[in-house]
């Protein structure tokens, strides 16, 4: 269009046509609607009678899909097979940016509120009460704030994971159906699981990282190994989040299940996982809640790392193994549910 009828094209559109041409891959004339139709430019112009208005000329000659893809479909498919999970994670993180302010405020605000309440309020009471002994396992008592800090950190991770693996999963399948967009692309269902989980992991690490900084500021971490808690807490989030994701993906009708999860799973875990007092202080009847709870395992791990809580090495290994097994089992089930549901 630039050569045949420059006088007919208004300046603005000419400039625009030129910018398209410059962005075009080198092969073929810029305005050819088909790469193989090298003569297309000529034939398109031949169709334009002189009496047409400028707008009509523009409509007839403007390439509809001018920019050619730099990849063939098979190259695209190969890239999607290799990196599809990361492409979906990119999308997920872009979504996150939409409510990035909330994410940051939650990540910083939550620890501040809890640490003031526990560290300044409750801790004063507990530490003053000599009957309560918070044994570090080596005969030395630890301040209450130090005791409770690893539990608060792991709780924050589990809260984020339960938020990201309930409503947003349901939204993808049902409310906004956002999974069905990528589902029609070369991505595979299981890559949505991977991408989503990697995105959640990124948010978890951001949350636990910031939380850890707050803990340090409040003097709630004793040992130099404490920073490893950033990862063990995130691991707790994943070990709770992945099975929850599989559960959420299987829900066809929203009948308030997520509120029930919040009330009857997340809350009891929060209260009975050795969070505010050692699990041993509980009667055996409810102690099992702690044993199955990823929160308890992560909290105990955190106590080992943060103030050198003494426990047998096999128990520490068991904590890690338990959390890892929950992740893997949750991931396998989530993949299965996604593949089944998106492939209907």
């Amino acid at each position: 269009m630039t050569e045949q009828q420059p006088s007919q094209v208004p300046g603005g559109q000419e400039a625009e046509a030129a910018s398209h041409a410059s962005a075009e891959p080198a092969a073929g004339p810029a305005q050819a609607p088909e790469p193989d139709a090298a003569a297309a430019a000529g034939s398109v112009d031949a169709r334009v009678p002189a009496q047409l208005t400028l707008r009509e000329v523009d409509a007839l000659t403007r390439p509809v899909t001018g920019l050619r893809s730099p990849l063939t479909p098979l190259q695209s498919a190969e890239r999607a097979r290799n990196f599809g999970s990361f492409y979906y994670m990119e999308h997920w993180l872009r979504q996150l940016r939409g409510y990035g302010w909330t994410v940051l405020m939650t990540a910083v605000g939550t620890p501040l509120v809890y640490l003031f309440a526990m560290g300044v309020g409750l801790a004063t009471l507990v530490d003053a009460n000599t009957d309560v002994s918070l044994d570090a396992g080596n005969g030395q008592a630890v301040p209450y704030l130090v005791f409770v800090a690893p539990a608060l950190l792991a709780t924050a991770a589990i809260m984020v994971a339960s938020e990201e693996n309930t409503y947003s999963v349901m939204s993808g399948f049902k409310w906004r159906k956002t999974y069905y967009g990528p589902n029609a692309s070369p991505l595979q269902s299981q890559q949505l699981v991977n991408g989503h989980s990697m995105g959640v992991l990124a948010r978890l690490l951001l949350t636990t990282g910031l939380y850890f900084l707050c803990l340090v500021l409040f003097g709630a971490v004793v040992e130099p190994t404490g920073w490893v808690m950033i990862f063990t807490a995130a691991l707790a989030g994943m070990s709770f989040g992945l099975p929850l994701m599989a559960y959420s993906a299987g829900i066809e009708e929203d009948r308030g299940q997520f509120a029930l999860v919040q009330r009857f799973i997340v809350m009891p875990l929060f209260l009975f996982s050795g969070t505010f007092f050692p699990l041993d202080a509980m009667p055996l009847l409810v102690r099992w809640i702690g044993w199955v709870s990823p929160l308890w395992h992560s909290t105990e791990l955190g106590r080992v790392l943060s103030y050198g809580y003494a426990e047998p090495l096999w128990l520490t290994a068991l904590h890690v193994a338990y959390l890892a097994v929950l992740c893997v089992v949750g991931w396998i089930f989530a993949r299965r549910v996604y593949i089944r549901r998106l492939g209907k």
Binding site: L71, A77, Y87, E90, Q95, Y180
Partner: protein, 321 residues
């Protein structure tokens, strides 16, 4: 690897069918949503699937789209079996689903870019491509708006723009204009027609007959998972209807009582609750015969036979059942 050899073979395959379906069946439980349909789509063709709701159109589209696995039969898209080469098949296609599934949390332009990333395309291509397609979809002003802020027609155009991000040669459109007002439909038809001119193969489902007549070179009428008829709109009208239709209204009560007196006029007579249809090659002549018999309809209308007549004849009058 079969892929590498295919990538060399595909360009020379141009005259071969883009889609070949042979006795394709899709079963949910013991219900055959698609019950043995066969068709071919040639490159550059506009191919329509017409049928009432629940006829199996969307299921067929999902199988062609390499998303839903078929229960039986043969299906090949660009020479590839979608059940084995899902990502490869989907990389060839642009898909406009029946229900918009844009990401409402992202801005308009970001929706396009994010989608293009799924095809492994670099940002250096995606950014100008997104701008180009926003212009094509007449959404340039809305590039930075949230999807929430768009009207139904704009969302539909954005969905079409999104389906073009990977520069596909084949576009699947599932009821592209359902729920849109007439202006929005005409804008969409114009955009689709331009794609067709640019050599893109269009496969669309619709239950708007005017849409099928506007856009489709060839179509199949599907009902209850089976193909009822196949051909170009004009050929289908020739085959299944007369050239013209005379519509007579005698008033709701009288239509059924008058109908027997109209016997022998035209080729075929159909009595509906609100009107009587006489299928005839010459509608005016038929009307003359009616008045010669001393019958005075309240209104009469002679019109050309349309695809709608074919459709309703083949799939049954929804008003009656």
């Amino acid at each position: 690897m079969p892929q590498t050899s295919l990538s060399h073979r595909l360009p020379q395959q141009a005259p071969a069918a883009v889609i070949t379906a042979r006795d394709v069946v899709k079963t949910y439980g013991d219900f055959n949503a698609v019950d043995g349909i066969s068709f071919d789509v040639q490159p550059g063709e506009s191919f329509g699937l017409l049928g009432p709701n629940g006829a199996g159109k969307s299921t067929t589209m999902r199988m062609i789209g390499g998303v839903s696995q078929r229960t039986a039969g043969e299906l090949s898209i660009m020479g590839l079996d979608p059940d084995q080469h899902g990502p490869e098949v989907r990389a060839h296609l642009g898909v406009v689903p029946q229900q918009d599934n844009l990401d409402e949390e992202l801005k308009v332009r970001d929706n396009l870019i994010v989608y293009g990333r799924y095809f492994g395309l670099p940002y250096s291509y995606l950014r100008p491509k997104a701008d180009e397609l926003l212009e094509f979809a007449q959404l340039t002003d809305k590039a930075k708006a949230k999807v929430d802020a768009l009207s139904g027609g704009m969302k539909r155009r954005l969905t079409i723009a999104r389906s073009l991000m990977n520069d596909p040669k084949v576009l699947l459109l599932d009821e592209p204009t359902t729920g849109l007002d007439p202006q929005a439909r005409h804008i969409l038809w114009d955009r689709l027609f331009r794609l067709k001119e640019a050599g893109v193969t269009l496969i669309l489902t619709t239950h708007y007959m005017d849409e099928a007549e506007q856009l489709c070179d060839r179509l199949i009428v599907v009902d209850k998972g089976k193909i009822m008829a196949e051909g170009s709109p004009a050929a289908l009208i020739r085959e299944h209807s007369t050239r013209e239709v005379l519509e007579l209204r005698f008033g709701s009560e009288r239509n059924t009582t008058v109908a027997p007196e109209l016997g022998g006029i035209g080729e075929r007579l159909e009595t509906l609750p609100d009107r009587v249809l006489i299928y005839a090659d010459d509608g005016e002549a038929a009307l003359e015969q009616v008045s010669n018999r001393g019958l005075r309809p309240i209104t009469s209308l002679v019109r050309r036979s349309s695809l709608e007549d074919v459709f309703l004849r083949l799939t049954g009058r929804s008003l009656i059942d």
